[in-house]
């Protein structure tokens, strides 16, 4: 009897139970369909995630807790979306320290870009 009254109340006032299973179904499907379409197995996905993060982490400090990494699909197109909140952009000197260990990166190239950046800034200062 109590159950019946409860059900009747739920039918009349659906906002009492905030279970929106419709959006739940949709968001779950979005994710799983994207996975199915891309057919990347979870291990591969994890490996890719780690590698991308390693590269990004060399230049900026990433908030590992807040980041999102997912396959999205839109109109039969699948795309990889990485949302990496940046805590801090690393200083040039820090970068050099790290790069010393990694010979594959062209250190000179980075120094040149830094100099160019400085050069752009300087004239502004003099004009003021």
């Amino acid at each position: 009897m109590l159950n019946m009254i409860k059900r009747l109340l739920e039918m009349l006032f659906p906002w009492n139970n905030n279970t929106n299973s419709r959006s739940h179904a949709k968001s779950r499907l979005k994710l799983i369909i994207a996975h199915d379409r891309a057919s990347i197995n979870p291990d591969m996905m994890e490996a890719m995630r780690e590698e991308i993060l390693d590269v990004v982490a060399r230049y900026v400090e990433v908030d590992r807790e807040e980041m999102e990494f997912s396959l999205c699909n839109d109109q039969r197109m699948t795309s990889l979306t990485a949302n990496l909140p940046i805590r801090q952009i690393k200083r040039m000197c820090e970068l050099k320290e790290q790069i010393k260990e990694n010979k594959s990166l062209d250190l000179q190239q980075i120094e040149i870009t830094e100099i160019e950046l400085e050069a752009e800034v300087k004239p502004n200062k003099t004009s003021i």
Binding site: F13, T19, R22, S23, A25, R28, K30, D36
Partner: protein
């Protein structure tokens, strides 16, 4: 120029056979000739839904074995001119037919009929490959449920890989009152997920079960029943007509929902 269309879904139990039988009848009602092929060998049911089960003599297997001519195996529907069924064998399994053989049968039928509808079995194995082998286009049947939509997406991918690019979607068993309460995905939700054009929306209706009980396609019964109208509309859209989709939400103005709206729901 006749059209060979496969009705498929991946998942079982979403209404492929019901769709094939009702759509076949609806097409025949538009004065078009249509041959229905039951590709579900071993689990044939199309004959039952059409109410033709007692008149099945030969099956597709007999045709392939050369035991009868194709025309002999076709069961003509006496209620609808232009509607015939090629039954599947019930005592064989899916492996008893090869894609090439199915293709041969469908192409032979295409010479005499405007539409060839192939009722595909569930799954994506040989039975599926047989059913799609001759198809130029596909109708995907799905329901607004997670498993059905996921499987539909998989099947769409497989069809595209096989070069079947004309794919249309039928969303079956929609319960408008559940959609309104956010308890079921809407047709728009399903469309957004699958990304193929919509050709029909069929509401969930007890009349569908009653019609299958009797072995009588819906379009033969009450003309104004909502699902019957939905199937007739699909038949017209197949012909290229622009028919607006049924407004399923319009019927939801019952006392309960009106009461709820009064309270600001």
């Amino acid at each position: 120029m006749s059209r060979i269309i496969v009705v498929t879904s991946g998942k079982g139990g979403v209404g492929k056979t019901t769709t094939t039988s009702n759509l076949g009848a609806a097409i025949a009602k538009q004065n078009r000739s249509v041959a229905l092929i039951d590709a579900d060998f071993g689990l044939r049911n199309l004959d039952l839904l059409l109410g033709l089960e007692e008149r099945v003599v030969y099956t597709a297997i007999d045709v392939l074995a050369g035991e009868c001519r194709l025309a002999q195996a076709l069961v003509k529907d006496k209620r609808l001119k232009g509607l015939v069924l090629l039954p599947a064998a019930q005592n064989r399994n899916k492996e008893s037919v090869q894609p090439e053989q199915m293709k041969k049968i469908a192409t032979a039928l295409a010479k005499g009929y405007d539409y060839i509808l192939i009722d595909c079995p569930a799954g994506i194995e040989l039975g599926f490959r047989n059913a799609i082998s001759a198809a130029q286009e596909a109708l995907i049947v799905t329901t607004p449920e997670v498993a059905a939509v996921r499987d539909a997406d998989r099947v769409i991918g497989l069809l595209e890989a096989e070069g079947v690019n004309k794919i249309n979607l039928i969303v079956n068993r929609v319960k408008p009152w559940m959609v309104e309460e956010n308890k079921m995905m809407s047709v728009e939700d399903v469309l957004e997920l699958l990304g193929v054009p919509l050709i029909g929306v069929v509401p969930d209706d007890e009349k569908v079960i009653v019609a299958t009980n009797k072995g009588e396609p819906l379009v033969l019964g009450e003309y104004d029943s909502l699902p019957a109208q939905a199937y007739l509309n699909i038949a017209r859209r197949l012909e290229g007509e622009k028919v607006p989709f049924l407004d399923l939400m319009a019927n939801q103005g019952n006392l309960l929902t009106r009461l709820r709206r009064m309270f600001g729901g």
